[in-house]
């Protein structure tokens, strides 16, 4: 019997042990390699920014980012090949990060998306040369006030913002952790790590800077709100379970764990659980862009530099759905009778609102924003299935969707007039006459969004809807099918505009991109068609990866 009396069991545990030794945390560096590589590269990028002469920075940063991403992807593949996706799946870093199938699948997807994203970030042939220097889509100097002399000087000097590459790497690092996070605090930290760089990136457009900054501020304010909700939810869940670890909360929910006696007042209180879960869910649904937490999407998508929009639309969705899946399937499976009806409502609203409001849009970036909302609804239908098929179908959908999105936004960067990108839809009239190839490629992406067979969009839609139908959500499938029909209308309308309208005399031109953007678009088209025609290999991959570790 120990002589020391615990003041409060929260602050002090069994005292004699504490005096004996301090356990060093055990970190499995090899298993965290993808994340560590990306963060390492990001930090290295900052150092390059500080010490490299300006004329070498662009090459150095792009090269470093690509190499880092490739190395991280190789690490993900090595881990998956080593069985960490299936038999050896476990929880690393003292219970903070899961290394399992869904995590590795999503990390691989995010890294590939990030790689293609770097290509579009690095594009320097689209904008006309500024004083003899090639420039990209980002502001000459982020700190220069729009319209000021300082900005003019920066443009005249041919500055470019190469910081975007380290920022992108930080965002990707956060996104890699987000779907793998296995305790609520890691989840929150990951959320902030990937959100903050994205807020910054949104503000850095070279043209229409005020709109870009407005978008960033909106995104930041609403994002901060959602973070607050998330954090409050985490606090309530901690109050309920006495722990922030996923498995810990799950075992309190299903009643297998002993509660911390010091928390006897609040622990096990279902009100805390329900409200906490709802708040955490709201935080994640915000990132996903589900109705009614979707308000930020169109403004931010429209204002942000298009390469950032493309990356954000693809990768954020992947990461956030990954986190949502893990939360619902690992922490709250016992609570599914409570969250399924709520998500039913959210999914139906998301599908319908996204599809219906998109019909009225006149700007191609806003159109794609609302379409992304509708797609979030389709993915939610797969989430609701609560079956292994549900998980794998969502994984597959995310992979398919993200490349279509990246490709579509990359095409948007090409269509330009004197004021930069010509995003108003009326400007796209007759594009099919002027540049049949670009219009045809964009049409492929639109058909994939619309879910026409032989594109990845159809395979994905079929996967999530059939999972939902098997999970007993047939009404959801019917709503999904109806909103697909509505959505098809506006995708088709853009195709009509491109191919069947007479080109305007002063219409936009299609810039000839460097191999970078061409590669990004080509990858998008290739993935869209391969996943549409021969999806079996990737479905298998998603199936093998469809089991969470707890």
């Amino acid at each position: 019997m120990s002589s020391t009396v615990a003041v409060h069991s929260l602050w002090t545990t069994a005292a004699p042990l504490a005096a004996d030794k301090i356990n060093a945390p055990k970190i499995e560096y090899a298993q965290l390699a993808p994340v560590l590589i990306v963060f390492g590269v990001a930090i290295l990028g900052i150092l390059l920014e500080a010490f490299l002469p300006r004329r070498f920075r662009y090459t150095g940063q792009v090269g470093l980012a690509v190499v880092g991403m490739a190395a991280a992807f190789a690490a993900v593949v090595a881990l998956a090949a080593g069985g960490y996706a299936t038999t050896k799946a476990h929880i690393a870093a003292m219970g903070a990060v899961a290394v399992d199938g869904p995590a590795l699948f999503l990390q691989g997807t995010i890294l590939l998306v990030g790689m293609v994203g770097v290509f579009t970030f690095a594009e320097r042939r689209l904008d006309p040369k500024a004083h003899g220097r090639h420039v990209d889509s980002f502001a000459a100097q982020g700190s220069a006030v729009p319209g000021s002399d300082q900005e003019k000087d920066a443009v005249r000097a041919g500055f470019t913002t190469t910081e975007v590459f380290p920022l992108l790497m930080f965002a990707i690092g956060g996104m890699l952790i987000f779907p793998a996070a296995n305790d609520l605090l890691t989840l929150f930290v990951a959320l902030e790590v990937f959100s903050l760089p994205l807020y910054l990136l949104c503000a850095l457009a070279r043209r229409r800077r005020l709109m870009s900054q407005e978008a960033a501020v909106k995104y930041f304010l609403l994002g901060a709100f959602s973070s607050a909700f998330l954090l409050f939810g985490i606090a309530l869940l901690y109050g309920y379970a006495g722990t922030v670890s996923y498995s810990g909360i799950a075992s309190v929910v299903d009643g297998t764990a002993k509660l911390n006696p010091a928390l006897a007042d609040s622990a096990g209180n279902d009100a805390l659980l329900l409200i906490g879960a709802a708040l955490v869910g709201m935080g994640l649904l915000f990132k996903v862009g589900a109705v009614p937490f979707h308000m930020w999407t169109p403004d931010v998508y429209e204002g942000a530099p298009t390469p950032v929009t493309g990356f954000m639309a693809a990768a954020t969705k992947v990461a956030a759905f990954g986190a949502l899946l893990r939360l619902l399937y690992v922490v709250l499976p016992e609570l599914r009778w409570d969250w399924r009806p709520v998500l039913w409502g959210v999914a139906i609203l998301t599908m319908l609102v996204g599809a219906i409001v998109a019909v009225t849009q006149t700007d191609v970036k806003r159109l794609l924003a609302y379409s992304s909302i509708a797609h979030a609804g389709f993915i939610l239908a797969g989430v609701i299935a609560t079956t292994p098929e549900g998980v794998s179908s969502v994984l597959f959908y995310l992979a398919a969707y993200s490349f279509v999105t990246l490709g579509a936004f990359a095409v948007v960067t090409l269509v330009r007039d004197a004021g930069g990108e010509a995003t108003h839809l009326s400007r796209w009239a007759g594009l099919g006459r002027r540049s049949p190839l670009v219009a045809a490629v964009f049409a492929i992406f639109l058909l994939a969004f619309a879910g026409i067979p032989l594109t990845s969009g159809f395979a994905g839609k079929f996967a999530v809807f059939s999972a939902a139908a098997q999970g007993g959500a047939m009404p959801l499938v019917i709503v999904g099918v109806i909103s697909s029909a509505i959505a098809a209308f506006f995708y088709i309308r853009v195709i009509v505009l491109m191919f069947f309208s007479e080109p305007k005399a002063d219409g936009p031109t299609v810039a000839v991109p460097s191999p970078l953007t061409s590669t990004a678009i080509a990858v998008g088209v290739a993935v869209t068609l391969v996943l549409g025609v021969a999806p079996q290999y990737f479905l298998d991959l998603a199936n093998q990866a469809g089991v969470f570790v707890r």
Partner: protein
Amino acid sequence: MSFPLLTLTAGLPALGAIATAAVPAARRGAAKWLALVVSLATLVLAAIAFVRFDPGGARYQLTESHAWIADFGVRYELGVDGIAVALIGLTALLVPFVIAAGWHDADPLEEKNPNRRWRPTQGFFALILLVEAMVIISFEATDVFLFYIFFEAMLIPMYFLIGGFGDRAHEHGEEEAARQRSYAAVKFLLYNLAGGLIMLAAVIGLYAVTADQLGQGTFSLQEILQARAAGELDMSTTAERALFLGFFFAFAVKAPLFPLHTWLPNAMGEATAPVAVLITAVVDKVGTFAMLRFCLQLFPEASKWATPAILVLALISIVYGALLAVGQRDIKRLIAYASISHFGFIILGIFAMTSQGQGGATLYMVNHGISTAALMLVAGFLISRRGSRLIASYGGVQKVAPVLAGTFLIGGLATLSLPGLAPFVSEFLVLVGTFSRYPAVGIIATTGIVLAALYVLVLYQRTMTGPVKAEVQGMPDLKVRELAVVAPLIALLIVLGVYPKPLTDVVNPAVQQTLSDVHKTDPKPALEASK
């Protein structure tokens, strides 16, 4: 059977489409010839399939089966029965004529050519071949999912054909023409896409039902039928009806059946005549074919349950379509409404559930394809000479262009089912088949024939007879190319009208099997029954 004949028959036009699209802009003549040669080669393959098909043999022949998307239980399964092989023959037969008839329809106008790389001619012929490939594979697919994919995907090339290429001259000026064309194309696509998406829900539902009851979801027609025969698969009545409606809706849009028919007159009116033939004679047949293959076989009980309603809709299509045809002022729209009336007959034949009815309906699909192609293509030649689709723009053509008028008359007579021409046989069979089970329905349907005589003969009278109109003066008669398109079609109409046996021999066993799936036998003749 190791030689993949069916894959080749569908694959050849698909490859041909890619090759045609790749022909350089300056060599558009080569693209036309390439497309024609590919379509003729496809016809040869289809003919081989027709000859190798043994009417007394297994139900599905020339089968191919490969794993495709195991995860969804989807297999690449092809096979043809008598009905399919006849319709593949029809498709492969008509496409060369469509290509030859549309030889100059997509020649680019130099002055309106903003981009030297703009290649409308290559695109036009590539799209036609692509549609052919997708239609053929839809007829071949015995996997529901495989069928669905191409059923849905063929909308895209069709959409571009309707919206991208119209008649050269237009009464209301070019801008208005482009607007109407675009409207027609969008209407076509939205109707069919909506139908297709509702079918998708039903396809998913079918998957859920099979996965639930068989352990592993499947789309294979044969597997599902076997499982049902063995009693392993037993759909609830509600589920079967819901799934039937989902499938039928899509096919009824495609066919088209009243009240889902309104896209057809727009599409056929605005498209060039060859594309209009492609729509009504080829693509729409997939709808009626799919009713026979999928609705009746997969959901026999629900089909019987829905029969009364469908018969009523088919009757409305027949009479209402014919009445609207009588009232048309536009030649192409008149033919479109006539087609709606004819599709009513086909659907009537299918759902009369008698062997004459269904055999007649299958023959009807083939004959309607040929007769509409003849009438529509000649109408297209006429319209291209005068630059107007309005009936009132013509008069006395037979004095100026007697061959044109003569072929137009034969096409028209085939449309009104004159005895001796092919459509008579099928229309007669459909009416007999319907009458033997539903006498009242048969009698009402007969009015369709009377109205057909009215709209065809009035059309002929107004355009071809009477005093020669000033604008028609000096109109050239059919050219060699045009004659080469029309003459074989007319010859076929006569041959099949006099001697339909080769076709009926192939079709009838398949019809009998379909009927036995629905557990229906022909009603006994009244005399015999009263004994």
